[in-house]
């Protein structure tokens, strides 16, 4: 009886196991194709729909601000435009956890005429695979099998399901298609942080988990692609490190040296050989958490940032 049970159970399990094996082999061997620009373009198509309003800004000197939440909440376009006496039109395309891949496809889909410069805030942890949990599920295909197992145990038990769904282009419920928006937002894409953000006070070492998951080479590649896109359109590209609270800077200096070196190495490998300007603010009461400015911080930092733009 037991023999029959085990035999039948084995037979029954064979089909799902073989299917998983085939899918994993497919992912492993076709990774380059699966993560090609053509494929990713399909995944991120229509991502720029929420920025339809950008084409409604008719200004000969547009400046795009790019990056993740530190830029979305860190700079106020209204304040920047006021400081520039409307001789420039600042537009904020940053969003929570936004990475270079998505940014690149948004830029590709937007009309770049009239754009004179782009300033991109660089948050190095965005370039780790550890942050794939905040990304479109398609990027989970970039995890090697062993790392995917670890990831599913640690962060998301449904990782493999998401991986295979991504393979067959199932929509990602956590990253729904953008809702088209043609009305120009009050602060041109910037948002003042009024609530305290949660879970953003991790120490440096916890943020990266490089030994476990490594850097995402794709992110570096797409950062370089943004630079190339700018160059081909005659747009000035400048990268900078957004401000951090002093304890974060100290923690970073104390425990993040190797990470910094490794990050720079990855940048070089991807062909990104520009300097990244450290545009810091040192007053801690201007921060809502380790690296998000509060409303007062946003205003002060915008002024500081504007003088940097002028110098450039």
């Amino acid at each position: 009886m037991m023999k029959k049970f085990l035999y039948r159970f084995f037979l029954f399990s064979l089909l799902p196991l073989l299917t998983l094996l085939v899918l994993e082999i497919w992912i492993g061997t076709k990774q380059e194709k699966l993560l090609s620009e053509k494929k990713l373009e399909q995944v991120f198509r229509n991502r720029a729909d929420e920025y339809q309003w950008v084409s409604n800004i008719k200004h000969p000197k547009k400046i795009f601000l790019l990056g993740s939440s530190s830029i979305k909440y860190g700079l106020s376009c209204r304040e920047l435009n006021r400081l520039a006496a409307d001789s420039l039109a600042f537009i904020n395309l940053a969003a929570d956890a936004r990475d270079p891949i998505e940014t690149y496809f948004i830029l590709k889909q937007l009309d770049l005429s009239g754009v004179k410069a782009m300033y991109m805030g660089i948050d190095p942890w965005i370039y780790t695979r550890n942050y794939y949990r905040n990304r479109h599920q398609y990027l989970l295909l970039d995890l090697p099998f062993a790392k995917a197992v670890r990831y599913s145990k640690e962060y998301d038990a449904r990782l493999f399901a998401k991986r295979y769904k991504a393979l067959f282009h199932f929509p990602d419920p956590d990253h729904p298609a953008s809702i088209a928006q043609s009305k120009i937002p009050a602060d041109f894409g910037s948002v003042a942080l009024t609530k305290k953000p949660v879970n953003f006070n991790d120490p440096v070492t916890k943020k990266y988990r490089l030994k476990d998951y490594g850097w995402s080479e794709l992110q570096f590649t797409y950062l370089q692609k943004i630079v190339t896109l700018c160059e081909s359109n005659g747009i000035v590209f400048t990268a900078f490190y957004p401000p951090r609270r002093s304890d974060f800077i100290l923690d970073d200096e104390k425990n993040g040296r190797d990470i910094r070196l490794s990050f720079e190495e990855q940048l070089m490998k991807a062909g990104f050989n520009r300097s990244i300007h450290p545009l810091q603010l040192l007053k801690d009461d201007l921060f809502a958490d380790s690296y998000h400015l509060n409303k007062a911080g946003q205003e002060i930092y915008s002024r500081y940032f504007f003088s940097f733009v002028q110098e450039n």
Binding site: M2, K4, F5, P16, S152, K153, A157, A161, Y164, D174
Partner: protein, 478 residues
Amino acid sequence: MLFNSLDFAIFLPIVFILYWFVTQKNLRVQNGLIVVASFVFYGWWDWRFLSLLLFSSMVDYVAGLAMMKEQRQRRRKWYLILSIVSNLGLLGFFKYYNFFLESFTAAFSFFGMPIHAGTLYIILPVGISFYTFQSLSYGIDVYRRKLEPTRDPIAFLAFVSFFPQLVAGPIERATHLLPQFQKARVFDYSKAVDGLKQILWGLFKKMVIADNCGQFADLIFSQSESYHGSTLLLGAFFFAMQIYGDFSGYSDMAVGLSRLFGFDLMQNFSFPYFSRSIAEFWRRWHISLSTWFRDYLYIPLGGNKKGKAKTIRNTFITFLVSGLWHGAHLKYLAWGGLHALYMLPHLIKTKTAKRESAIAPGKFLPGWKEGFSILLTFILVLLAWIFFRANSLAQADQIFSEIFSRSMLTIPQVLPRKILVLLAFFLLFEWRGRNSLYAIEKTGSQWPIWTRWLFYYFILLLIFLEGGREQPFIYFQF
């Protein structure tokens, strides 16, 4: 360790093989394996709480033996009190200490005598309400001489800590489960296959129904002030499906797993949402807890044998305590109280109502009267869930006032079509299998093997592809 985790997928085959191939010849060793496996399973959450499990088990084991040796009734009573105080003391401290402290300070403040008492940061040990009740029932049954106490500490530990039902039930009676640890288990092919089927259905209920509905219930309840009455009612419906899928799904997995190891656990849910009255609902919902309260609280209070007034009093006490069992919060008391109110017409009726048998037997659809009773009972249960799910009584009040307003007549603002289709599929199978032990018990029994397997693959595929964002089992918190 969660049943729907990778850890458990590795743990289970190891235990299964050791159980049937290595330890089968020696019952004590086999029971010992169950204890070790159960301790690993439980310690996976927090090994520190193993001491509580051990303490609760040992107190009842020793109290049981002492009651057996002691003939003087007074002394026996003292041993029983020791068991009750130890178990309820643990439960009271870990679950209710802060609640009672806060309630007392609030009451004193209300009467103009503010007092200051610091609450403690207490982590609730997973499943404490389940295993203390199971252990407690042993002490009470031994005291009542319904059960011969066991001298085998390993068998007793295995009974209290049996991993399939340790953290969320069914709360087994010693009279039913303990003897199963005292005799050799034989592998039964059809029982094991049936167990796997029940696990599969339990996983579907948990991962597809509960987890998906939970996302929308959370969304709607977290911003209840921004939704119309119709959306809020839909939120309550999603929660009703979530809690049923979650808890009955866990019970299905527990029963199914036990069958793999040659055990039979009691049925914990019997299609409660198809009940035709509230009384019937409580005979079909969380049966192991309802019967526990019936046998160890309602009947000792006098049950329905001491006149109408006392029956009503006993019913209210039982439902309020049952509410409090779910958590130290007034909203649970309100939930229990509302169910007691629902029972009133049933209690006041002079004629003893005939106990309902099978639901719509031999028919695909129920008759008008039966259908109406099912719908009405479901609506009453649904409204009571609002108290259970709301964050506070104030939020429940806001939701009720919105539901009983004109905004109830609008189209819901949240209408996830995919989830509604999945729910339709689920409810169809539940209805088809309403008179079985679990919905798909008889599905495919006459089909050729490959058709049956195709059906199981289909359920697996749904679990894999349509499983919602992972949510913790609701009943673990109780």
